[in-house]
């Protein structure tokens, strides 16, 4: 900057520090490029390791009916478990976020937010242990009741699992695990509602719920959708809790929620099979991982797109 106006050739120390400035900028840019390269590597190496499985003869693969016959039920299980988790987690996270942002005493609100964040901090293997030891057994009675009284609904056809380790249990654990990220997202969106809108609604005599319905929800709608998509991305990829809690039978596609024969998920299947696999079986697992990567990529892409669109027109952030 100053070298242009200085008379005569630049002094040595200026040159040196200019070089330092340059190299720092280069270092920062290189870090950014490093991330590009890493992600490219992830895609390239996953694809490279998948190709043997995608091109192999059908009977050489696990199951013996080709790759998609192997990956299809797993993909179904992944999406089914995640959808169930979302059905529970979306309304719940909105409720929790509203409770913290608009119902709880102001002084407590932050502490309650931390409590919800703690749910995200618990490692998934601990959720798995808890799911097997406490949560699944606690639900056995409920599943038996469902099987006895509501078995005309295909979801509850039964027979009820005696361990409680069903896809519904796994989905509920998933729901608990994705609640924090969705709640955090919703909460920050709710808190961004213009204060004046809220006060105007209250001044007109609206009750608290009417105020929320009129001012908070319209403002936060796209954030709720985006946060839910991020939660969905988490649910699709969650591994250990599902691998431990769910009792599976291979290649099954069923909507039955409460029996002990359940479809597995891609992530759980990889974790369970990988340590004992070798050769082409590993390639097949990597290929299912690639499918999972593409699905989560798509979900996250849509979520980010919604967030980006919102940031543009609302002027927030």
């Amino acid at each position: 900057m100053s070298t242009a106006t200085a008379s005569g050739p630049p002094r040595l120390d200026q040159k040196i520090s200019h070089r330092a400035d340059k190299s720092f900028a280069t270092l920062a840019t290189a870090s950014g490029i490093f991330i590009l390269v890493t992600l490219a590597f992830v895609a390239i190496f996953l694809t490279a390791e998948s190709i043997p499985a995608l091109t192999a003869d059908t009977e050489e693969l696990p199951g013996g009916n080709g790759f998609w016959a192997y990956a299809g039920p797993l993909l179904f299980g992944t999406i089914w478990a995640s959808v169930l988790a979302m059905i529970v987690a979306v309304p719940l996270s909105i409720g929790i976020a509203l409770f913290i942002s608009h119902y709880a005493p102001r002084k407590l609100a932050e502490a309650l937010g931390y409590v919800i964040d703690l749910l995200a901090a618990i490692p998934s293997v601990v959720y798995g242990l808890w799911g097997i030891a406490v949560f699944a057994p606690a639900l056995v009675g409920f599943y038996q009741w469902l099987a006895e009284n509501l078995s005309f609904i295909p979801f509850f056809a039964g027979p009820a699992s005696s361990t409680g380790r069903t896809i519904l249990t796994a989905s509920l654990v998933l729901a608990i695990m994705i609640l924090p990220i969705m709640t955090a997202f919703n909460r920050s969106a709710f808190l961004q509602t213009p204060r004046l809108h809220e006060e105007a609604a209250l001044a007109l005599g609206a009750t608290r719920w009417e105020m929320i319905k009129m001012t908070v929800f319209p403002y936060a709608r796209s954030s709720i959708i985006a946060g839910s998509m991020l939660g969905l991305g988490r649910a699709l990829g969650e591994t250990m809790a599902v691998a431990m809690v769910l009792s599976t039978s291979g290649g099954l596609v069923t909507f039955n929620l409460i029996s002990s024969a359940n479809p597995s998920t891609i992530a759980a299947n990889i974790a369970l099979q990988f340590p004992e696999s070798s050769g082409l079986a590993i390639n097949a697992l990597v290929a299912t991982g690639l499918v999972l990567f593409i699905v989560t990529f798509g979900v996250n892409f849509i979520a980010r797109w919604i967030i980006g669109r919102r940031a543009e027109f609302s002027g927030a952030n």
Binding site: S2, D21, A25, L27, A28, T29, A30, S31, G32, I35, T38, F41, V42, F45, L46, A48, L92, I94, G95, F99, Y103, Y114, I116, L118, L119, A121, I122, P123, S124, V125, V126, G128, L129, W130, A133, V134, V140, G141, F142, W145, L179, T183, R208, W209, E210, L230, G237, T239, M240, M244, A267, I270, A271, I282, V286, G289, T296, V299, N300, R304
Partner: protein, 356 residues
């Protein structure tokens, strides 16, 4: 009753107009709570499952309060009360598993929370005894390696995005960091496997390989935290520094980063807390062994979450001994993670720049 005779008024009606709207007395809501408990216990005893009990408590409170409010207050107030109860219930539903989980981990984990657990590994242990020394060392080494790689790259990328990044490259990096945040942990493990299968061979497993998998998960968290904190640094500080003739890189290292340091440290600690509990990628990349391994570049290395998982899946005989080790490992893990979280909050509060 009026004493004035100059302005005779018609006898006042018994009912007066309430300035304040009628509202349910507090005692009623407490009564409803008691009633709800009775209904909940009744439903549990009748149907024999916890879900029925929970639904019983919920409805046992919701219905009386709603009906009473509808009768005594108004339809709108009743709706308001209805939703207040639903929101509170949502929060209770979320906190219940957290409490249950923490209580269970402490109770089950306490059995083997002894000196032997922290001072011995699993060499030659089939039943009682044994410990997780090798797993604790493994977790420490793998996480440190991942942190050593991720923290500089993450912070420098954050600096790039906030201070230098313009144009398509910066937009691309921002986008890909978002994508990376969403990579499932198991895919990160598969990536580490695929990378080292290409570089070394498909049989290779090591602590370093696990660290690479964790790096993929950790970098985006560090980038995000750094980016957000640097954005909070007021531009006036940078301009003041430039006005004094300080160069850009010195401004960044001496002015911008120190101002944001507390936030960055918080973000980094939270990122470490996130990856320290990761099981799936390490299961694939670092493998499992029963002895202490000090060399992260050669031989399999057990991490604490993987140890907990394997002790549960292959508990040995009698199985209770394995289950107990598994729970104790989970307890140690929860203590570490919660400790890191508390530490991060403390840093954020203690060292944040004072607001004037």
């Amino acid at each position: 009753m009026t004493t004035s005779t100059r302005f005779p008024v018609p006898a006042a009606p018994e009912r007066t107009i309430d300035v304040v709207q009628p509202s349910l007395p507090r005692a009623f809501t407490f009564g409803a709570m008691g009633f709800a408990l009775v209904v909940g216990v009744g439903a549990y005893l009748l149907l024999g499952n916890y879900v029925a009990g929970g639904v019983g408590v919920f409805l046992g409170y919701l219905i009386p309060v709603y009906v009473a409010s509808r009768v005594r207050e108004s339809k709108r107030r009743a709706t308001d009360r209805f939703w207040t109860i639903v929101m509170t219930a949502a929060f209770v539903i979320a906190v219940t598993p957290l409490i249950s989980l923490l209580v269970t981990v402490v109770m089950e984990g306490a059995a083997r929370f002894d000196v032997e657990f922290f001072t011995s590994d699993m060499r030659g242990v089939a039943g009682e005894g044994g410990g997780a020394l090798h797993a604790i060392i493994g977790t420490f080494m793998i996480t440190s390696l991942a942190a050593v790689i991720s923290i500089p790259v993450g912070i420098m990328t954050g600096v790039y995005l906030v201070e230098y990044g313009r144009g398509p490259l910066a937009r691309g990096v921002t986008f890909l960091v978002d994508v990376m945040t969403g990579i499932p942990s198991i895919v990160a493990g598969l990536f580490a496997f695929a990378l080292f299968a290409f570089l070394v061979g498909p049989q290779y497993r090591s602590g370093f390989m696990g660290a690479i998998a964790l790096t993929v998960l950790m970098i985006p968290t560090v980038v995000r935290a750094t980016e957000e904190m640097l954005k909070l640094v007021p531009n006036e500080l940078r301009e003041a520094s430039y006005a004094l003739g300080v160069q850009k890189w010195r401004t960044i290292t001496r002015v911008v980063i120190p101002t944001a340091l507390a936030g960055i440290v918080t973000g980094v600690v939270l990122a470490i807390a996130r990856v320290i509990g990761e099981t799936a990628p390490l299961l694939l990349a670092a493998g499992f062994t029963s002895t202490v391994n000090w060399n992260p570049f050669e031989g399999r290395m057990t991490a604490l979450p993987v140890y907990s998982y394997y002790q549960y899946v292959t508990p040995g005989f009698p199985p209770e001994t394995g289950f107990e080790r598994s729970w104790t490992a989970a307890l140690v893990l929860v203590i570490i993670v919660l400790g890191l979280n508390l530490f991060a909050r403390w840093v954020a509060v203690r060292f944040s720049p004072k607001k004037s």
